[in-house]
């Protein structure tokens, strides 16, 4: 049970700018790994390729032995829905829905919104946002919005959580709280967590760091 990349390369644009240069790595199940590097080093690109949102120009990404970039559209989306949770820097909550409804969106897709409702409320309680269940995102603080986004990533009990700069838009206290949530989830449920951060302190809070320099592993 692991996530393996084999010689992953990514080129961008008409000039074929090389962003990732032959990345080969393995992230074991249950690990909490940070990806760090300077701006433009390719850390977000690597995260999105690992998470199936982007595809490599060359190379393979195998999750539990399955090349995710060779899955059909329906299988790929089902795989994401059942196995992956995403947390972005800008939360990306649906403004028309309440916090609880936002958290339940992956379950809505899976047709399990009723079954997962209790689980969603438990997570909200754990994250101290239970009283905000019926609040719209606009009525929440930045930290609360990010907690809702993390709760949404967790509601389907995914095996992998991918987070791109999850603390980037938060003050240090809220940022620390988010990383602590990740640690708790990781230890409590054994969820594999891969997160991109430029904050050294937060990066060191994972089991290990993957540092990128100019598109290569340092």
């Amino acid at each position: 049970m692991s996530l393996i990349t084999k010689d992953v390369t990514k080129k961008f644009g008409e000039m074929n700018t090389l962003i990732l240069k032959g990345i080969s790595l393995e992230i074991k199940s249950g690990e909490m790994v940070s990806i760090t590097g300077r701006s433009g080093s390719g850390k977000s690109t690597l995260l999105y390729i690992l998470s199936s949102l982007d595809s490599p120009t060359a190379g393979q990404v195998l999750i539990d032995g399955v090349n995710i970039h060779q899955l059909g559209i329906r299988d790929l989306h089902h795989f994401r829905n059942q196995n992956m949770g995403f947390v972005f820097q800008f939360h990306h909550l649906l403004p028309e829905l309440s916090a609880l409804e936002n958290i339940l969106m992956p379950a809505v897709k899976a047709g399990q919104s009723q079954e997962k409702k209790q689980k969603a409320l438990e997570i909200m309680s754990e994250f101290s946002i239970l009283d905000k269940a019926n609040h719209r995102p606009a009525q929440l603080s930045g930290g609360e919005q990010q907690r809702v986004a993390i709760a949404r990533a967790l509601v389907m009990n995914p095996r992998y959580i991918f987070a791109d700069e999850p603390t980037g838009n938060l003050d240090s206290a809220n940022g620390l709280a988010v990383i602590n949530f990740f640690k708790k989830i990781n230890s409590q449920f054994g969820t594999t967590i891969i997160y991109v951060t430029h904050d050294k302190e937060f990066a060191q809070m994972g089991h290990r760091q993957i540092q990128l320099v100019d598109g290569q592993l340092a």
Partner: protein, 416 residues
């Protein structure tokens, strides 16, 4: 997706209401214009169909030629030279074999009723006033089954004509024209003998001036006697069970008949072509309005797609497929089309009621002088269908582009 689609529409209240207004106005305009035009058309068709006949069999007009006069008067070996070749219409054109027609009509399952008639021109005289009129002689019992003339009687009863006794029913405008009154006696002449007295026993008003000021109805035998052609039938008016089959039946009968057989629509091709033009204008206007409304939907959804890029990215990342995203926006277009179409049909209905209460200058039969408006339910079904169709087409394009968006492209554009 349906619930999310509705919430997204509600969250953009102003844009949604503005777009809905466009669709509502388009749909209402379609209903109101259709109600007015179809109301007018059905009134005219009612006059054409129900006050005359679904099918009319009439004597074919024969024009005299030198050849057929020569064959009648001279042997074939005689050399005839005409100083002035014969020409003109043959007098007393009548149906070749009315009995065979009557036998056929009695057996034909398509035929509901028929009425043999004699139709001729005459001069009506009252005091010093003379005017040319068209006289229709028929059996009133048979005629009432063929036409709706009874509905348009202002005074007297249709059956007062009776089977004999020189009684006539006269159009109101004709009575005014010659200064006649009910129960008064006028003189009628077809130019073959001295004028004969006829008593006015009833007055009708169809609302069609050309008929109301020039037509008289009398009994078949009275008019045959007036015309000095006893037993002669010039026309047979026929009512079918299904008026829509009139054209088809008339064409079939025409193939084996020496007489002229015409359905009501064949006889009024000019009017029918006006109706077709009206329909083209009506549909063109509607399409134009709906295209404008469609652009509204296209704009609002295109803007929504642009504004909702982040949400599209997150939905895709949590497992929603491109088709789900397409549905999310397509449903919004459909909802706008459906609500706009239904509300527009409702508004169109109110407009139709208002229009039907507007008095128009030309008087209709039975004194009804309000604008003729159709309340055919198909108008409303079409209005809703057209709105939903326009919404589907205009909603599909932005919805498809939303479905094609890749989450990583959206995320990258957000970062950059």
């Amino acid at each position: 997706m349906f619930s999310l689609a509705i919430r997204q529409l509600i969250s953009r209240k102003n844009q949604t209401l503005l777009t809905l207004m466009g669709i509502i106005l388009g749909s209402a305009a379609y209903v109101a214009i259709s109600a007015m035009m179809l109301g007018f058309q059905s009134f005219i068709v009612d006059q054409l169909v129900n006050n005359d006949a679904h099918i009319r069999i009439s004597a074919r007009e024969e024009i005299l030629t030198a050849a057929n006069v020569r064959d009648f008067f001279y042997d074939s070996d005689q050399n005839v030279h005409w100083l002035q070749p014969p020409s003109g219409r043959k007098d007393n054109a009548s149906i070749v074999s009315p009995q065979s027609w009557i036998a056929r009509l009695d057996k034909d399952p398509e035929v509901f009723a028929y009425s043999p008639q004699i139709v001729t021109q005459a001069i009506v005289n009252l005091g010093h006033i003379n005017t040319t009129v068209r006289i229709v002689g028929s059996d009133p019992e048979k005629q009432r089954n063929v036409s709706n003339i009874e509905k348009y009687m202002l005074a007297g009863k249709w059956t007062d004509i009776g089977s004999s006794g020189n009684k006539i029913i006269m159009g109101e405008d004709l009575m005014i024209k010659i200064g006649a009154h009910q129960s008064e006696t006028v003189m009628l002449s077809v130019g073959k003998q001295n004028p004969q007295p006829f008593k006015i026993v009833g007055v009708f008003k169809l609302g069609v001036k050309s008929i109301d000021e020039s037509t008289l109805f009398g009994s078949l035998s009275d008019i045959q006697n007036l015309n000095q052609t006893p037993g002669q039938i010039t026309d047979i008016a026929i009512r079918l069970h299904d008026v829509t089959k009139a054209g088809e039946v008339a064409t079939t009968w025409n193939m084996f008949s020496q007489d002229k057989v015409q359905s009501w629509d064949q006889a009024n091709e000019g009017i029918m072509s006006v109706f077709k033009t009206q329909d083209i204008v009506r549909n063109s206007m509607t399409i134009s309005i709906l295209i404008v409304a469609g652009f509204g939907i296209y704009n609002i959804l295109s803007l929504a797609v642009t504004h909702k890029k982040r949400e599209i990215a997150i939905l895709r990342s949590i497992g929603f497929e491109p088709n789900d995203i397409l549905q999310l926006f397509f449903i919004q277009g459909l909802i706008l089309g459906l609500i706009g179409g239904i509300a527009g049909a409702g508004l169109g209905y109110i407009l139709s009621i208002i229009m039907s209460n507007i008095e128009v200058s030309s008087q209709r039969g039975l004194g009804s002088n309000h604008m003729m408006v159709s309340f055919d339910w198909m108008i409303y079904v079409k209005a809703v269908f057209l709105s939903v169709f326009a919404a589907s087409v205009s909603g599909y394009l932005p919805a498809r582009s939303a479905g094609k968006m890749e989450p990583i492209d959206i995320i990258r554009s957000e970062v950059s």
